[in-house]
């Protein structure tokens, strides 16, 4: 009879290493600006610029209430939500179809097409701004959700196709073929057989693109208008209300602005890794 005890794999215990401390220090350093924004949003207005800064204070929600009730703030949030979510959902739908086609039918020159698709992201955004501005003026798309949604959808598709193709390639064509033999349509195979197996790719593509579109400033500023400005532009135009920078206002909007994304990333962070590696570490999810 063997008396060997089976050790369960566990987190390594023992003295905290230098590297662990360094890791924590770096993480905190990166979190400091966010911490500053949140703490400023919660500080009473008159203590915001105190030197030395107050780390212990009685938190107040008055700044947040003020910021939300200030002129167009709520509208900016609604605008951001409309164009961000609509365009990213649309982009992922289109990218899903495109990546299925790239992965399964392998049209001639697939590699080159994939390269071409991503090349729209090679050029700095500033180079596109003027042509797009003129185009949107001619097409009367300026300051319309339709225009912004078209633009952001177009901008979100390439990266989504790249992420999703990686995932699709990981799903054996045997699944498609078995379905076909049993009489399934291509449509059925795409949505009932393949889609459930690339769900983490869809989430990863969604998270990456929503981060991008939610934060996008330049094109929203140039192609949008009062009817369609989102939070980044709204924050920029309201920053100097009353003639000087109102830091409590900036921090409050910033806090509210960061929340939806922080929640999305917190809940879906496990998909970010697989997304970044284009589905090659699927086992991690």
């Amino acid at each position: 009879m063997s008396t060997t005890t089976v050790m369960k794999p566990s987190r390594r215990k023992g003295p905290i290493s230098f590297l662990t401390i360094l890791g924590w220090f770096t993480a905190i350093l990166f979190f400091l600006p966010i911490a500053w924004i949140i703490s400023t949003a919660l500080k009473p207005k008159n203590t915001v610029l105190d030197i030395p800064p107050k780390f212990v204070f009685m938190p107040t929600f008055q700044n947040l209430v003020d910021a939300v009730s200030f002129s167009n703030t709520l509208q900016y949030f609604v605008h951001s939500a409309i164009y961000s979510f609509t365009s990213v959902f649309l982009a992922i739908f289109v990218a899903f179809l495109a990546s299925y086609s790239f992965s399964r039918f392998k049209p001639a020159g697939t590699d080159f097409l994939m390269f071409l698709l991503l090349s729209t992201r090679f050029v700095p955004a500033a180079a596109f701004v003027i042509p797009f501005f003129q185009l949107f003026n001619v097409l009367k798309l300026k300051d319309s959700f339709l225009g912004l949604i078209i633009f952001y959808t177009m901008f979100s598709i390439p990266f989504s196709v790249w992420i999703l193709k990686g995932f699709m390639d990981g799903v054996s064509t045997k699944f498609d073929e078995t379905g076909m033999v049993y009489g399934a349509s291509r449509w059925h195979i795409m949505f009932k057989v393949v889609l459930p197996q690339v769900r983490s790719g869809l989430v990863a593509a969604f998270v990456f693109n929503i981060i991008f579109v939610w934060n996008e400033f330049l094109f929203n500023f140039q192609l949008g208008g009062l009817k369609t400005y989102g939070i980044p532009v709204g924050l920029f135009t309201s920053i100097t209300k009353g003639g000087q920078v109102d830091w409590s206002f900036v921090a409050s909007i910033g806090t509210l602005y960061v929340m939806p994304l922080a929640l999305v990333i917190f809940f879906f962070q496990k998909y970010l890794l697989v997304g970044l590696t284009f589905g090659t570490v699927r086992g991690e999810v």
Partner: protein, 363 residues
Amino acid sequence: MTNSALEVKGLSKAYGEKSVLEDLSFSAALNDFSVICGKPGNGKSVLVRTIMGLEEIDAGQIFVRGVDVTNADPGSRDIGYIPQSFALYPHFSVRENIEYPLSLIKASAEVKAEAVERVSELLKITDLLNKKPVELSGGQKQRVAIARGLSKSTDVYVLDDPLVGLDFKLRERLIEDLRLTQEKLKVAFVYITSDPLEALQLAKTVLILAHGKIVQQGPLVDVYDTPLSLPAMTTLGFPEANVVSGSISGSTFKSAIFDAQVDITGNHTTAIAGIRPEGLLVGEHPGTISVGAKLTLMENLGSEFAAYVDVKGTQLVTVISRTDSESIKALESGNLTISIKPEAITLFDSVSEKKIGKGVSRV
């Protein structure tokens, strides 16, 4: 029109310059277990894919139940299909996987429940129905895949090397299950494999696939005993048949290691002799051709040994029973005589590899 469950006529398929299937024809009857056996790289997968409609063909026709399905969609061919790699849908439970072919034709809940019960009892997987494929072992997955292939009642089933990669014991069990299943359902099973043992264990009718063609089709015993070509002999049988080339002079086959009297048709100057391992005996026996040999390898097959011997630089293999202690002793002694039964020799043309004659018994 034809009465076969599945019939293929003059099928050809090439990829660019490379021809994979060439004018291939065969038919599989209802209530028969047909095994298509071919060595790896002989176009088995392509053949399955063309039968199922997953691959377009360059020439030829495919009939299912006498109906030409050459250009029909895979789904409309109504063939039960068990793919090589289980291809169980990971997001479905075992039950949903088995029901899947029925769900696609929008069968009622009762029909589905009845089918699941029928096939899960047949394959003894009733206790797995609520599990997900990821929770199953390899053998269980294969059973589920077979159950899914059988769930939709039809009369033609194609099984694409379904036991490949499974462990030995499991294969033995599933082979038994498959045979019984076919006997119970009285349908056409077309089973594709590269494993001669599977072919020998399963087939009622065996079809030898070599060089992109079905080179021989017939009842298992006939094909095994009377191979009409060299590939038919070497493909079916384990260990693989011995092959010795030589020349013909009159009615004598002469090779570097033995000479034999043969009965031959046609004019030939060269030939290839094929001898199954059981045509070689250890020690001297009356009425045989004896040659001196050296043992190179003994392979334990359980109830028997495969003994590989070297005869003047040519490697031959024979099988001996585990209880044949005399032969085992002789093998181990090193100084060895191997006897070739002349009637076990089959002669093939060196070019066409077709059968041209047989060895003649000395008695």
